[in-house]
């Protein structure tokens, strides 16, 4: 049987986490877990070993850019894909996201199809 894709959700807003979980858990292809800060995200990495991280940008404490940079700078998480989520679709935010090493970018509000599509777009790389 095909292994489920492990998705880590990082968002300080509980409402957003619940929505993301609702979308992913219905699909039966994903194994999900969530944390509410960048610090928690880094802490849970070695244990959870996500394939994909859905990473909010604006968070108290360490923001999404910094989290992204740190993950992308550690060789053991080379294969981990990061999808940045942001409330504002400003071009400079998108650029900052990519220059921090993000693989994809999704601006809120997004529909569930959009999210699933973006997830699919990063997944095949995992098996390669």
């Amino acid at each position: 049987m095909e292994q489920k894709t492990k998705v880590l959700i990082v968002d300080d807003e509980q409402t957003n986490i619940k929505i993301l979980l609702e979308i992913l858990e219905f699909e039966d292809e994903y194994m999900t877990t969530s944390v509410t800060s960048g610090e928690e995200c880094l802490a849970i990495l070695p244990e959870f070993k996500p394939d994909v991280i859905l990473l909010d940008i604006m968070m108290p404490g360490m923001d999404g850019y910094e989290v992204c940079r740190r993950i992308k700078n550690s060789p053991e998480y080379e294969a981990t894909k990061i999808i940045m989520l942001s409330g504002r679709a400003m071009q400079n935010e998108i650029d900052n996201g990519f220059s921090a090493g993000a693989d994809q970018y999704l601006s809120k509000p997004f529909g569930m199809d959009e999210l699933l599509e973006v997830l699919k777009s990063v997944e095949p790389c995992r098996q390669a």
């Binding site: 609702e22 979308i23 968070m59 108290p60 409330g87 809120k108």
Partner: protein
Amino acid sequence: MSKDHILVVEDNETNRVYLNLLLEDTYKVSLAENGAQALQIAAAHPRPQLILLDIVMPEMDGYEVCRRLKENPKTRDILVIFFTSLLEKGGEYKGLSLGAIDYIAKPVQPELLRLRIKQHLELLHAREELRKALEKEHQANLAKSEFLANMSHEMRTPMHAILSYANFGLRRIDKVPRQKLAEYFQEIRDSGERLTLLLNDLLDLAKLEAGSMSYAMEEHNLTGTIKEAVSEFKAVAEEKGIQLILKAPEKPLIGFFDEARIGQVVRNLLSNALKFTDSGKIITIEVAQDVLAPHGPDTKPALRFGVCDQGMGIPPTEIETIFDKFIQSSATKSGAGGTGLGLAICNQIIQAHHGKIWAKNNKNGGATFTVLLPTRAGISEDPDKSGSGR
């Protein structure tokens, strides 16, 4: 207002003394006998507003002094008036093009000189006021833009939730159990309620701003009003593992206020305290008899209530601005939610009651918000402030 400061630069001592005599009644006067000294005084504090500058001086002439003054960002804005007996052809043009605002020929006519100085300074002050007003306007605009950005962020989250759960329901109506559908409806309702609260806050503030909020001023027992609000928060506090303690004297504390509005203030302060306090901590609400200004001359009888939390406290730079509308504590911005309107609304309500509201950080962590409300006697002692609450 403090006196304007004029620097007289003149190598001839007799002239210097004469000008000093002429001006010292109206202005603070500094004297310099050469260019180097002039530049030094001009750059030091307090800076002069205006410089009377002789042109013909040994070593550094007036033109050079002016050029250097205008080069230095610190002294660039000081008004320069040349005064000279040098009837050099093109001298006036040269002086004015260096940035001086006037050029006066010696011998000086005292009344004319004084008038000119007075008018130049008046213009300077008018310009200064205009600059300040523009700066204030600019700040207000920045705060408004920030507020709009906050609002749109605050509205986007519940909006996003409503749309998402409605979509889940539509798409999965035949695929999920009824219980799941009920959950979706619940989420839609919760987010709708959150949006309503937000809009109510906005509407309240708009009314308060316009002065069109009416107050039903009556005598009530403040302890009762506070008890009622506190009891509404019992369940939430328990859920978060926070203890609410109410300290109030046995006898009723009769104040003169609009019960609904003061209740709103109490709820707002409690909800803030709960937002910033962690599990296992205590929030203390105290009610007591007091006077309006315990350390000042304004000792009108008043009631005091305070909400003291053990949360993260308020960044010291924000203690003063936390009640301004559109201003939100950086701590709040970073995730605890809110519109930045709650405390502005509290402030407006308390002002309308002729009371006071302030915040301060506790020595051992957390913050205390205190409100002073004058009693009926406290209000009627002041004939300008009777009863209407407006």
